[in-house]
Symmetry: C2
Subunit: 201 residues, 2 copies
């Protein structure tokens, strides 16, 4: 069963459309929690919604710190600020990684994610270990990426939001709409419908 | 004693200068950790460095969730993406709040922060409790802010970075420089100098 479009999808798609002239409108900031309990925050590129459900996809290097964070604490929050229309979406929910060792039924999604990348983006997965002391780039011989099959360093990050906060800074006072899905399924194991409430900004 | 300018200040000031044509180049994303251990992430406006030290200042409403987060876990990480020059700074460190109940020696900083705000920004501190169900704005009678003295809802947020990561996406491969200050002071109670290392992006 394909879940219905969540109610925050329409304002988010609208914002993407209204800000489409700016390449950076697909850049978002993803917060995770480090194993020492401190927050981490970095820019990632939105790679589209998954075909089923209301999930956002991103890609990462399996050797990056964020994978370690997600293994330790799978909750994340994306902050997405649209500079043209001056609106912000905050999307909090569980993150999951789809890597080379993930179940075979996830590998189609991973392969499709790889195939959608540009050549330049693909070649980054052959760079030396991210976050380690710099290797002189002149001393590297980089492999030419296979455009069909991802290397083991290629990993998808999937965010399944359960809370979304939409703030619009145009107009006075600002508008703030909060969408949420109860954390716990009901006694039949079914997650409740999304609810929406207007909040003070 | 005024601490020396940290080595990441110069590239950050340069980025601010190179991106100054865009108002949003002063907007950053601040990650904190909620009392339930999950991350939170939102856009805040950079309000300048404090006069002493290498600290970044922001303002917030004392009633906002982020104050609760910071009381619970004072560590934060700012992600600052500059759209024009395609570079990112991640600044992690301790956060402190300067509110109406903070020691008297902090109140000059708080007052100066208030006086630098625009009238529109000041008036937001008289809006109803942020994050609570929406109050009909037509039913509100808002006070006219005193331009000299902040209301009790006005709070400064000060970030004292101990780790800074600077990523430059222009050029191939990307450049990544990491600056850090050891967490623990040495046996004389003195914090070590900043160190810098080039990392693989």
């Amino acid at each position: 069963m394909i879940p219905a479009l969540a109610p925050w999808r329409s304002p988010l798609e609208q914002a993407l459309h209204n800000n489409r002239s700016q390449a950076h409108s697909r850049y978002v900031q993803l917060a995770t929690v480090r194993p020492n309990g401190r927050p981490a925050n970095r820019t990632v590129v939105f790679r589209g919604f998954t075909a089923v459900g209301n999930e956002l996809s991103f890609v990462t290097d399996a050797r990056s710190e964020k994978c370690e964070h997600i293994h330790h604490q799978p909750w994340g929050e994306v902050c997405w600020y649209f500079t043209e229309t001056r609106e912000q979406f905050r999307l909090g929910g569980e993150l999951r990684l789809i890597g080379v060792d993930s179940p075979v039924e996830c590998q189609d999604l991973r392969q499709a994610g790889w195939q959608r990348l540009s050549d330049a983006a693909r070649s980054q997965f052959f760079w030396p270990h991210p976050g380690e002391p710099r290797v002189d780039p002149d001393r590297l011989t980089l492999s030419t990426p296979d455009p069909l099959n991802p290397p083991s360093s290629f990993c998808m990050v999937i965010l399944s939001p359960t809370e979304v906060d939409h703030l619009q800074l145009q107009g006075d006072p600002h508008q703030r709409q909060h969408y949420y899905q109860p954390d716990q399924p009901d006694s039949d194991g079914v997650y409740a419908e999304w609810r929406a409430i207007a909040l003070n900004p």
